[in-house]
Symmetry: C2
Subunit: 239 residues, 2 copies
């Protein structure tokens, strides 16, 4: 590229990176607050989470528009093109993280006033803490273009899937033990599934980072340990 | 654009449209077959659905790559640029439809051999039929660039959300009536949620079409009637 185009392109890239950092900060806060609201039955906090989502949607649209214009105007090649394409993909994943956190927050309203044994929530809390750490790590890896850190996030997703599958069984057990738990546990199951899917989006971002940094697409299958879609419950035979 | 570029651009567009039509056909088949497999407990059919998903993933990656290269090479403007950007967005939504249908298919394995009252499945079947119709309509609207038809799909999503909310209540009721239903109904709840979210992706596609055809972004909020995140169950007080 001619020099004035290079400089304009660098400015475009910096803007895209800054916008993604802003999205990442909002998404992290949404996940942390939604889980906190669930654990402490804090309705106003849940409403704050829901109110943050439109900002994330707007940022995603802005990033997509800016990225497309950048490709058309500057015609970047190789790593430069990958960086712009990656911005579109990462913005899309972070926007989905926000949607999923918003859905967890909505469930805080649904279970308000219901029979809620505290110990049941602790498994969801543990999983959410782990996923939040993954989200922070992958966003840091993006800021620092750190492929090793991205791969580390990618590898650890299996732990979250394992935790989710065991939580799934645990929640079904509570439902069978006492029908008063059913409605509450159903909402927790969906909340847990949403959080597990936020974990999937962090691994998507890790894959995008790997492509951005190395130019190679990850061909290995992700270490997928979520077997809950296949899970039946032995206890069912006993009831 | 100079004439030889216009002609090359038209060829690019035709290829993108053809690839999206292929994705649409696969996604429709996956949703129809996953629901059929669920209703008829057909494990081989469920496995066929799962086996189709990689093709959809590959097509999405190919469409994204082709679209980005087209933007960089041909520098399209206005409606031409919108058409290429729309291809990226629609491919992403159709790929998600495939993921969700695959998840429904996986649950056919989970519930195999479980206590399964047939009447419980009929609600999921009805919802799936409605969503499949939406998916077909929006893909036809894309093929014909028919904005009125896209808007019609967008408006009808509210019906699916209403159906889902009532199905959610119905399934909770079955779970409370008989604990043997819990594991089975939990999987059906997730299957129903996946199908409802396929409906959301059809409205996303409708919004993309509206933007493609008119150049305007839909600012009105979609008619959202899924209240299940807020749903508690009166029956719970009675048990």
């Amino acid at each position: 590229m001619p020099e004035h185009i290079v400089s304009a392109f660098d400015t475009d890239l910096k803007t895209l990176r800054r916008m993604i950092a802003e999205m990442g900060g909002i998404a992290e806060k949404m996940l942390a607050d939604a889980t906190e609201a669930l654990a402490s039955r804090n309705l106003p906090l849940a409403q704050e989470v829901i109110a943050l989502d439109p900002r994330l949607d707007q940022l995603q649209r802005d990033i997509e528009e800016k990225a497309i214009l950048t490709i058309a105007r500057r015609q970047p090649m190789a790593v430069d093109l990958r960086e712009v394409v990656s911005a579109i993909r990462i913005a899309s994943d972070v926007e989905r993280v926000g949607d999923l956190a918003k859905n967890v927050a909505k469930r805080v309203m649904a279970i308000a006033g219901q029979f809620q044994p505290v110990k049941i929530i602790s498994g969801v809390q543990t999983m959410s803490d782990l996923v939040l750490e993954q989200l922070k790590d992958v966003l840091d890896a993006y800021a620092e273009k750190d492929n090793a850190r991205a791969l580390d996030v990618w590898m650890r997703d299996g732990d979250i899937d394992t935790l989710y599958t065991s939580l799934f069984r645990e929640l079904l057990t509570y439902m069978m033990e006492d029908p008063r738990n059913i409605s509450f546990c159903t909402h927790l199951l969906f909340a847990a599934k949403n959080i597990e899917r936020i974990g999937d989006h962090t691994t998507n971002i890790a894959e995008t980072l790997h492509y951005l940094i190395t130019g190679e697409v990850m061909l290995a299958e992700r270490p997928k340990k979520d077997n809950s879609s296949y899970t039946t419950l032995a206890i069912e035979a006993e009831t």
